[in-house]
Symmetry: C2
């Protein structure tokens, strides 16, 4: 696969194995699509699927899975701890290789258009695909959840769906769909047991307090090591780089006479984010990620 | 493929397309083996194949290819500019993923054992597989070339093959085989047009002059940019790291009041070598290369 987009749809069914398998089955044995992982949580009553594929076959598989979810999941009977508003609750598309965030955005819109026409499910475009600033944040879009959504959508100026009918699907609710960048969970450990210092540094770099646009951050204690940590989510590493936040945290820590002990990546990180660090520190000229041997495998 | 070894065999036939295709054909349509690239040079009369695979199927394919070369190539009639001593001249095995250099070494020995028994071809173990220091360097092993090899091998104390008969195969000559690490071609650009400074820095870091064990280096001029460059081959990046030579060159340049402008990787670089840089500069704790998203594809 030359052009790869990742999709991580969340379905509001985490208990009925048969229904889950029917939905996940839409991603199996499809040329140009690969099911990487899926997991179901009974308390949340929710399943999260991770799938990658080339744009066109991924579109067809995702539309089919939405059709299955609309058919099998009745939100009027759904109970679970996780906030949710639709049988397919949220469908993020993430550019991985050989594609841009614009390609992921185009795919999100194509899926929403086709699925709304075929199954009568309404869609809100969110994140990078959002058509208004108040629709970017998933939590704000989902506020009110399935039960409150019909009422919320009466304010059509603010909450008219981008695709499909102007109110909820009676059993399917409404779905958020859109492009987003891969998220990097990144933590920096400080040589201090003073949590307040980590919190102050976090405030300097987090977007809501005047810091970097694509950085969420907070100070936390690592009790077992008795050290404070700046814990971050980087929501667009192409705009707010890993090395940028690292060097800024180090710089801010200096005013407290505190050293940086190290840092850690939690979960996955795109190759480009690692390459960006090598490019910065080693001054790489004209480096192409395709020079990384493993990308040839 | 979970465990991947790369093999770059050099065959002493670069003109007869039919023979080349018969040899290369041994790597086609083999489960667990992937032919990445091959190219033939008519002046050198030599073909270089790049193939990856899991150890066991790669062994079988490589043994088959050696059999074909012994059958089709007659070294008594071979002419070409590139030094050579056998129908299969050299067979390096390079650990890529999920394997160690010891695994590559074991594979080299298994191929040499089986191919020597089946086809009567003798093998010298070289590089990381060498059984004596004077056999590590390919150029020294190959000295005398095909025409001089029978005479050279009369000195059995120094040049008894590690596998196969004690002298050359009458038409197949003798083959060097062994494990080596991926080679990284890496250059550092200096903010000076004084070549002598690059040469002096190169002498500080190259192994033969007392520098790093796995670093070959020289000073060169980039005429079009009018700057001097320290040009390197790093022959084992796990022992002599990219960031180590970068920081050392920067440190040495300081004594001449010269800044480092940047650096460049020529050709391929293993993911781990890039990760090593991020680990050093960002102080990554417990980072696993499997956290790089692309390795999951």
């Amino acid at each position: 696969m030359e052009r790869i987009i990742e999709c991580v749809p969340n379905f509001s069914e985490g208990r009925d194995k048969d229904k889950i398998e029917q939905i996940v089955g839409c991603f199996r044995n499809v040329e140009g699509v690969k099911l990487l992982d899926y997991s179901s949580d009974e308390d949340h009553n929710r399943s999260v699927v991770t799938v990658i594929g080339e744009p066109e076959p991924l579109k067809d598989a995702m539309v089919a899975a939405i059709g299955k979810a609309v058919e099998l999941i009745d939100m009027t009977k759904h109970q679970g701890q996780h906030p949710r508003m639709g049988c397919v609750d949220v469908v993020p598309f993430i550019p991985i290789r050989g594609v841009t965030v614009e390609d992921a955005d185009a795919l999100a819109k194509a899926v929403a258009k086709e699925a709304s026409e075929k199954f009568g499910q309404p869609f809100f475009l969110y994140e990078k695909s959002a058509t208004a600033p108040h629709r970017e944040n998933l939590a704000k879009v989902r506020q009110g959840q399935f039960e409150g959504m019909a009422e919320k959508m009466k304010d059509q100026e603010k909450w008219k769906p981008d695709f499909g009918p102007n109110t909820i699907h009676p059993t399917g609710g409404v779905t958020a769909i859109g492009a987003r960048m891969p998220l990097i969970a990144y933590n920096i450990n400080l040589d201090t047991s003073n949590l307040e210092i980590a919190q102050k540094i976090a405030d300097k770099i987090r977007h809501v307090k005047g810091g970097f646009r694509y950085c969420k951050a907070m100070g936390v204690m690592l009790e077992d090591r008795n050290i404070a940590q700046v814990s971050m989510n980087l929501t667009d590493y192409t705009k707010t780089s890993v090395y940028t936040v690292f060097e800024t945290v180090r710089m801010e820590a200096r005013r407290y006479g505190v050293n940086v002990l190290g840092s850690e990546v939690v979960g996955l990180i795109p190759l480009q984010a690692i390459v960006d660090c090598a490019e910065y520190y080693l001054g790489f000229e004209n480096f192409d990620p395709k020079q990384v041997l493993e990308t040839r495998l």
